[in-house]
């Protein structure tokens, strides 16, 4: 079910961006963004460094508001679109133990702090053995997985992931992709930024291709990889995109 895009199919739109721009000072970071996030398949944000992936995710999460345009959220059966979670590109760990970080996310989301739930969340991201370690002493990859566990603790309807496997080794990358695929299968809407083309192929879904703060393509993954519409996308896929 992870192959093939949602655009133009049966999938329901969950979030829609109309003519969205985001400006910081005099710099346009995002311009004229038209975008639909749909239920059913993961949405992958692809694009070179500085193309605006993180900014777009923050906008979708509601951490920042658009300078122009509109963000619409629609209700979808069986998905709590109000409950969103975010795994940041550089997640910040609370100065506590690994387990306490998960407990904190649980209670912030209004769930009772059940040690069994904490243990199973850590199990899912492969951190069960490190439960009592100070979280800030975990490696970069371990911290990213802990951030994923914290996000899962919220039982989100929409999960935003900003390059969650950027500092993971191949085995861990696969493990995280499996977790993401598993929760996508339960109906959670996944929006994920990545540079990793292989990952995009494995997970997608829809691809949103960004360059210089503009959405150049939004297509099903298979189509994006097989017949990219734009010159920029072809060069990006060939590995020699220069902005």
């Amino acid at each position: 079910m992870l192959d093939g895009g949602a655009i133009g199919r049966t999938a329901q739109p969950v979030m829609r961006l109309h003519g969205v721009g985001y400006r910081s000072g005099n710099t346009d970071i995002l311009s004229d963004v038209e975008l639909t996030i749909a239920a059913g398949v993961p949405t992958l944000l692809l694009g070179p460094n500085g193309s605006g992936k993180t900014t777009l995710l923050r906008l979708l999460m509601g951490l920042i508001g658009p300078s122009e345009g509109r963000v619409d959220v629609s209700a979808v059966d069986g998905v709590n679109t109000a409950r969103r979670a975010f795994v940041f590109q550089k997640p910040v760990m609370l100065k506590r133990s690994t387990a306490a970080n998960v407990s904190f996310a649980l209670s912030a989301a209004g769930f009772p702090v059940d040690p069994l739930v904490v243990a199973s969340l850590l199990q899912r991201v492969g951190l069960a053995a490190l439960a009592d370690r100070p979280a800030r002493m975990l490696s970069g990859g371990e911290q990213q997985r802990l951030a994923l566990a914290r996000a899962l603790a919220r039982q989100p309807g929409i999960l935003f992931l900003d390059e969650p496997t950027a500092s993971l080794d191949p085995a861990q990358t696969k493990a995280v992709e499996d977790v993401v695929a598993a929760i996508a299968a339960t109906g959670v809407i996944i929006v994920m930024a990545t540079h990793d083309l292989g990952q995009a192929r494995r997970l997608a879904g829809d691809v949103v291709f960004l360059v210089g703060g503009r959405v150049l393509e939004q297509t099903p993954a298979t189509q994006f990889f097989d017949q990219p519409k734009t010159q920029a996308a072809r060069r990006f896929l060939a590995g020699d995109l220069v902005i």
Partner: protein, 229 residues
């Protein structure tokens, strides 16, 4: 008696000297607690809230860190005097008055440094907390807890300043033998009597106590950073 004598008096449990040391610790620790009870929430509030005049409040807090003890002593004296607005409390020339004076002296230190610590931490945590939907109260609690090691250092700064202070406690406590006489006022008194060796000995005891308290706090911090994260 010489400087070493003050130590041996203390070690041999000389009750008068022991009582002075105990009162010093009691007054200063109470003052730190009282100052923390106000300074901590206030510092956290200023760190996390946007309001008109916030910049002014921060400048004022930072400036008040350098409050001259004698001025604090005088103001507390005027307030607590029988002829002052709080005279009915009958607190002048009691340890309570000394606690209040020291607390006023160090509350701005605790508030200003707490604001700095909490604000720095908040910059780090802001996005995560927003994404996790942490309630305002939950944020304050989490920031205070995660800033606990820095906050302990702040308390120590307050403790050191209060313990070393003489001007304010002299004025509001009256240096009454066996009742409001603390280490610093004893040192001042013995100096004025020309009893310099005893004064120096007591000074060394005071320094030793401050060093001991700091060593203890540092060890606790080392231990818990390693074990509690």
């Amino acid at each position: 008696m010489d400087g070493v004598g003050a130590f041996s008096l203390l070690l041999s449990g000389d009750p008068a000297l022991f009582a002075i040391v105990r009162l010093s610790l009691f007054v200063t620790l109470s003052a730190v607690m009282l100052a923390a009870a106000f300074g901590l929430p206030f510092g956290a509030f200023v760190a996390l809230t946007q309001f008109r005049g916030r910049g002014g409040v921060i400048v004022a807090l930072n400036a008040l860190m350098g409050l001259p003890p004698v001025v604090v002593g005088l103001l507390v004296f005027l307030a607590l005097s029988r002829s002052g607005p709080l005279g009915f409390l009958g607190l002048l020339f009691t340890p309570g008055a000394m606690i209040i004076a020291q607390a006023i002296l160090i509350a701005p230190i605790i508030a200003a440094l707490t604001r700095q610590v909490i604000e720095d931490l908040w910059v780090e945590y802001c996005d995560e907390f927003t994404a996790m939907d942490v309630s305002p109260l939950g944020r304050v609690a989490a920031l205070l807890w995660d800033g606990r090691f820095s906050l302990v250092t702040i308390f120590l700064a307050g403790f050191g300043r209060a313990a070393a202070e003489v001007g304010a406690v002299m004025i509001v406590g009256g240096n009454i033998d066996g009742f409001t006489r603390v280490m610093t006022t004893t040192i001042a008194l013995e100096t004025s009597k020309g009893n310099l060796p005893l004064a120096i000995g007591l000074g060394l005891v005071l320094i030793a106590i401050v060093v001991a308290v700091n060593t203890l706090a540092w060890s606790v911090r080392q231990w818990s950073e390693r074990h509690a994260g």
